[in-house]
C-alpha cells in the first residue's frame, strides 16, 4: 500500500511551506519525499499499538511528586518583555509600531 508521492503532492507541500521549487528541484524533491515513504515503511515494521508517543524526552526526567516539574507553567503575571523600539529596529519595513508588508489580498 506504499502510495507514491505525486507532483501534485509536491506542489501542495510547497504551498504549505511557502517555498517555490524551480524546474528540476521538483524532480529531486519527488525522490526525497518518496524516500520518506521508505522510512515510514521501516517504522511500520514495529508494532507500536498501545505505545504512547514520546514528544518530550524530558518527561522521563521529571521527579514524581514534584509539582513544579510536572507542570512547567508559571503564575499569570504581566512582566516586562523586550524593548519595542529595539525589536522594531530589526524590521525590514515598519512605522515603529507596526510591521509593514505588501498587501495581503491580490486582486
Amino acid at each position: 500500500m506504499t502510495a507514491k508521492v505525486t507532483v501534485a503532492d509536491v506542489e501542495r507541500v510547497a504551498e504549505l511551506a511557502h517555498l517555490e521549487l524551480a524546474g528540476e528541484e521538483t524532480e529531486r524533491m519527488l525522490r526525497d519525499l518518496n524516500a520518506i515513504l521508505d522510512y515510514v515503511a521501516e517504522l511500520n515494521e514495529l508494532d507500536t499499538s498501545g505505545v504512547a508517543p514520546m514528544a518530550q524526552a524530558s518527561e522521563l526526567v521529571s521527579e514524581p511528586g514534584n509539582a513544579a516539574s510536572a507542570t512547567a507553567s508559571r503564575a499569570d503575571q504581566v512582566r516586562p518583555s523586550l524593548d519595542r523600539a529595539v525589536v522594531m529596529r530589526q524590521a525590514p519595513e515598519s512605522n515603529s509600531a507596526f510591521f509593514k508588508v505588501p498587501k495581503v489580498i491580490e486582486r
Binding site: 503532492d9 526525497d32 520518506i36 521501516e42 517504522l43 507500536t48 524530558s58 526526567v61 524593548d83
Partner: protein, 493 residues
C-alpha cells in the same frame, strides 16, 4: 607519531587548561585583556584559512576582560571562568551581535537579548570572543552547508571539521578559543568534536536552557560545550547547566559539580568498577577498521582501569534513523516557518503580495539543504499523514528510550565510536552510503532518547586523523560519562 600530515599541522594548537589560566589571571601573571588580545591576534592569523569566526565581539570581550583584571588586581575572588576566552556558535544569540545561524536569511539580524547559556558564561567571567560558523540552521554534518563558506579542519585543512558545530570544534582544536558552545540535535556536537580531536558534551535534554538557541528541532536540540580536556568540558557544563524559567523544557534537577565528579576514578577502592556496555549494533559493517581498532584500545584501557565490560543489545537501534528524520524535519519545518521576511532578517524586494514575499524571501535566502528538510517535514506533518508519520516516529522514539533505560539497568555507561569514519575531504562527503547511514545511527539514538554523552579523543588513524569515543549515560548521568571519559583521556596521556 603515526603518519605525518603536511604543514597544515601548524593550525593545531592545544589551549592551556582552565586551571592553568585561572592561576595566571588570579595572580596577575597574565592579564585577561592581554589574553583576549592574544586570541584576537591568533584569530586574525588563522581565521582566513579556517573560517571559524563569522563575527567578533571585541568591545564586549575587552570590557569583560577589564572587569576581570580589576577584580584580580583588588585580590577579589574570581568567578569560575574569569577571563577565559570562549567562542559561541552562531545559532546562540548575543545581544546586539550578529546571529546568522549560518544562513543568509538572518544576515544583518541583531538579537535584542542574550541566550541564557551565553549570559551564564558571562556571569561566570568568560570573555566572549565572537560568533562561530556552523551549518545553516544547524542542519548538516560537515559545516559545508554554511551560507558563509565551509570551516576547515585544523588537523588537515583539506578536510571537514564535521558539523553542524564544526566551527566550535575547530576553534578549540586551533586554540582560537579555550572553549566554545555548540548545539547538538542529531550529533552536531559529538561528531565534529570527534573529527577535530577535542572533547564535546551532549548534555541531557533539558539540562541546559534552550532560551536564545535558534531552534531547529525543539524536542531534540541541546546546547553543549567543547573543550580540550574532559575536566574543562565538565567545568563548562557546570557553568551553563540549570533550570531556566524562560525554557519550559529545562530540568529542575540540581546541577552537580561535574568537574569534581570527573576526578573520581572509574574504580574506587572497596567498590566495584563502573560497568561499561558495548552494543554490537554499533560495531557493524561500515565501521572503518582503524576507528574500530582505536576504540577497542580505549575499551581495553577502561578494563585495565577497573571497569567491567559487557556486551549489551539495543535491537531497535536501526529504527532510530527513520524516526529521527521524521521527527527532526517535522519540527524544523515548524520552527523555520517564522523566517518569512516580516519581522527580521532578509525580505525579498519587489513582491506584489504578502504570499509572494514569504516564498520569495525564503527561496532566495534559505540554502538547499534547509529547504529540503522543511519540505520533508511539512509533508510528514500535513493532513492525512501526521498520524502515520510524525506520531508513529514519536512512538518508536519511546521504544528507543525505554531500550536505553533497560540497558542502563545493567551498565553505567555505553561506549561506541562517535563516528564510523574520520574527517573526510571537503566536497567529498564520504561516498559509502552504508557508512553514512551508520554515522547517523551512532548519534541520533541518544538524541531521540534524551540521554547524555561525552565524546573524548581516543587515538587517531594511521594518517593522523582524530578518532573519538562516544560515552553515553542515562538521563542526568553526565557525571558518570565524565568519569569514563577521563579514564580514557588519562590512558592516552
Amino acid at each position: 607519531m603515526p603518519g605525518e600530515i603536511k604543514t597544515t599541522e601548524t593550525f593545531v594548537e592545544k589551549p592551556k587548561t582552565l586551571a592553568e589560566l585561572r592561576a595566571e589571571i588570579s595572580t596577575g601573571r597574565t592579564k585577561a585583556t592581554d589574553l583576549a588580545a592574544s586570541y584576537y591576534e591568533r584569530i586574525a592569523k588563522k581565521n582566513p584559512r579556517l573560517n571559524v569566526y563569522l563575527s567578533l565581539t571585541k568591545e564586549r570581550a575587552l570590557a569583560q576582560a577589564e572587569r576581570i583584571d580589576a577584580l584580580a588586581a583588588k585580590g577579589d575572588p574570581l568567578p569560575p571562568l574569569a577571563g577565559i576566552p570562549v567562542g559561541i556558535k552562531d545559532v546562540l544569540v548575543m545581544q546586539g551581535a550578529p546571529a546568522t545561524a549560518g544562513s543568509k536569511i538572518l544576515e544583518g539580524y541583531r538579537p535584542p537579548y542574550d541566550a541564557t547559556a551565553v549570559a551564564k558564561l558571562e556571569a561566570a567571567g568568560a570573555v566572549l570572543l565572537g560568533k562561530i560558523n556552523c551549518d545553516e540552521f544547524a542542519m548538516g554534518s560537515s559545516n559545508e552547508n554554511s551560507a558563509y563558506g565551509p570551516v576547515r579542519n585544523p588537523v588537515d585543512t583539506e578536510r571537514v571539521p564535521g558539523g553542524s558545530s564544526g566551527g566550535s570544534a575547530a576553534a578549540v582544536a586551533a586554540n582560537l578559543a579555550v572553549a566554545t558552545l555548540g548545539s547538538d540535535t542529531g550529533g552536531s556536537i559529538r561528531q565534529p568534536a570527534s573529527f577535530c580531536g577535542v572533547v564535546g558534551v551532549l548534555p541531557t535534554y533539558g539540562r541546559v536552557s534552550r532560551y536564545g538557541l535558534i531552534a531547529f528541532a525543539s524536542s531534540l536540540d541541546r546546547v553543549g560545550p567543547f573543550a580540550a580536556s574532559v575536566r574543562d568540558a565538565a567545568t563548562m557544563l557546570g557553568a551553563i547547566a540549570g533550570h531556566d524559567p524562560k525554557d519550559a523544557t529545562s530540568s529542575q534537577a540540581p546541577v552537580e559539580d561535574y568537574a569534581a565528579e570527573s576526578d573520581n576514578p572509574v574504580k574506587e577502592p572497596g567498590k566495584a568498577g563502573l560497568r561499561i556496555g558495548v552494543p554490537s549494533e554499533y560495531f557493524a559493517e561500515g565501521l572503518d577498521p582503524e576507528v574500530r581498532a582505536a576504540i577497542e584500545k580505549g575499551i581495553a584501557a577502561l578494563e585495565a582501569a577497573g571497569c567491567t565490560v559487557k556486551a549489551v543489545s539495543l535491537p531497535h537501534t536501526k529504527y532510530a534513523v527513520p524516526a529521527y528524520y521524521l521527527v527532526a524535519t517535522a519540527e524544523a519545518s515548524a520552527n523555520l516557518a517564522r523566517f518569512d521576511g516580516v519581522r527580521y532578517g532578509y525580505r525579498s524586494p519587489h513582491s506584489a503580495t504578502l504570499s509572494d514575499m514569504y516564498s520569495h524571501s525564503r527561496d532566495e535566502a534559505f540554502g538547499v539543504e534547509v529547504k529540503r528538510r522543511i519540505f520533508l517535514g511539512t509533508y510528514a506533518l500535513s493532513a492525512g499523514y501526521y498520524d502515520a508519520y510524525y506520531l508513529k516516529a514519536q512512538q518508536v522514539r519511546r521504544l528507543l528510550a525505554e531500550e536505553f533505560l533497560r540497558a542502563f539497568a545493567e551498565v553505567d555507561a555505553i561506549v561506541t565510536p562517535t563516528s564510523p569514519f574520520p574527517a573526510f575531504k571537503i566536497g567529498e562527503k564520504t561516498g559509502d552510503p552504508v557508512a553514512m547511514y551508520l554515522a547517523d545511527i551512532y548519534t541520533v539514538t541518544a538524541s531521540l532518547a534524551g540521554i547524555c554523552g561525552v565524546t573524548v579523543p581516543c587515538g587517531a588513524t594511521n594518517a593522523g586523523l582524530p578518532v573519538g569515543m562516544q560515552i553515553l549515560a542515562r538521563q542526568l548521568g553526565e557525571s558518570t560519562a565524565f568519569r569514563v571519559a577521563r579514564a580514557v583521556e588519562q590512558s592516552l596521556s
